[in-house]
Symmetry: C2
Subunit: 211 residues, 2 copies
Amino acid sequence: MYKKEISKAVINRLPRYYRYLGDLLEKDVVRISSKELSEKMKVTASQIRQDLNNFGGFGQQGYGYNVEYLHSEIGKILGLDTKYNMIIIGAGNLGLALANYADFERRGFFVKCIFDIAPSLIGTEIRGITVKNAEEMENYIKMNKVDIAAVTVPKTKAPSIASDLAKWGVKGIWNFAPTDLNLPKDVTVENVHLAESLMKLSYRLSGNDIE
Amino acid sequence: MYKKEISKAVINRLPRYYRYLGDLLEKDVVRISSKELSEKMKVTASQIRQDLNNFGGFGQQGYGYNVEYLHSEIGKILGLDTKYNMIIIGAGNLGLALANYADFERRGFFVKCIFDIAPSLIGTEIRGITVKNAEEMENYIKMNKVDIAAVTVPKTKAPSIASDLAKWGVKGIWNFAPTDLNLPKDVTVENVHLAESLMKLSYRLSGNDIE
């Protein structure tokens, strides 16, 4: 429906709109003007109107936005009206941090199990989620619906694991390994490169401003 | 020197150049053409030349780039020729994952200590880094050089902790809490919003392409 029409910059802002609207909902705010929203989010009101116009608007001139409606519509655009089954590869601290993050479930992302190769971890549980032997991964993926795999393994192992995941039918890879993955076009990769984030911080700390 | 002249998009690409050049260095590659680099990085060669021209070029027509030199120069632009002292607030799985990531040190980011409020964690160690009582934080920051604080506390607590950090003189905040921080202008905030990253993945999984 919105295919290829919406720019990456707009999409990058949508989760932030969604988060702000969710915060407002928690505070029982019913309606908000683009001006108020813009002050909260430190984005211009015209930017907000422009962004939302990409999806047909949602606001009525002079009435502002209905918070619950806008939250739910942006959620639909982001695909959050779907339930996703997620597995986590790697039961290190990062994998466990993701497994522990109950907030993901509220948005429809359900962590079903964690895979690791360390005998000391296999069989342990976190929040009721079992750490399974990585050798069972192929079979598990073939027998269960797995939409997203969070890859938290070292960078030397990530490319081959990701290729296997893709081969076994996983369409969404949430990659935390500091390497890029080259996967078939029908597989979506979202990278979280922590070291690169830290470098952007150091760039600005070292006296450089970003426009 | 480069103040306000370089666009955010270019800066966002620099850490990735740095990572690729580091990988090439590890493989003892001495020289690379923008064409080869572009094939590896899946960026056009002209994009690479344009990006690097922002900083004066570095390449000689027909000779390509000297990998070590380019890696070191981009490192300098990113401020990686400086040593940063980092503290981590929150010794949960995410805080421990960051403390465990030895790769940060190679880039000049040294985790000096972790702060938490849980009595069961205070006094424990990870990779030789001690978890201290959060009550000691103010004094620690005033007595030691702290350049960066990684904030891995719940979103309800993050804003006030970040304000305190800024007040005590910390100029760089690496924020993992799912909330925006409003801090004085001289404080640099770099956000890692995991839930938003997951939403971008779900957006694309739900049948939408990003340009």
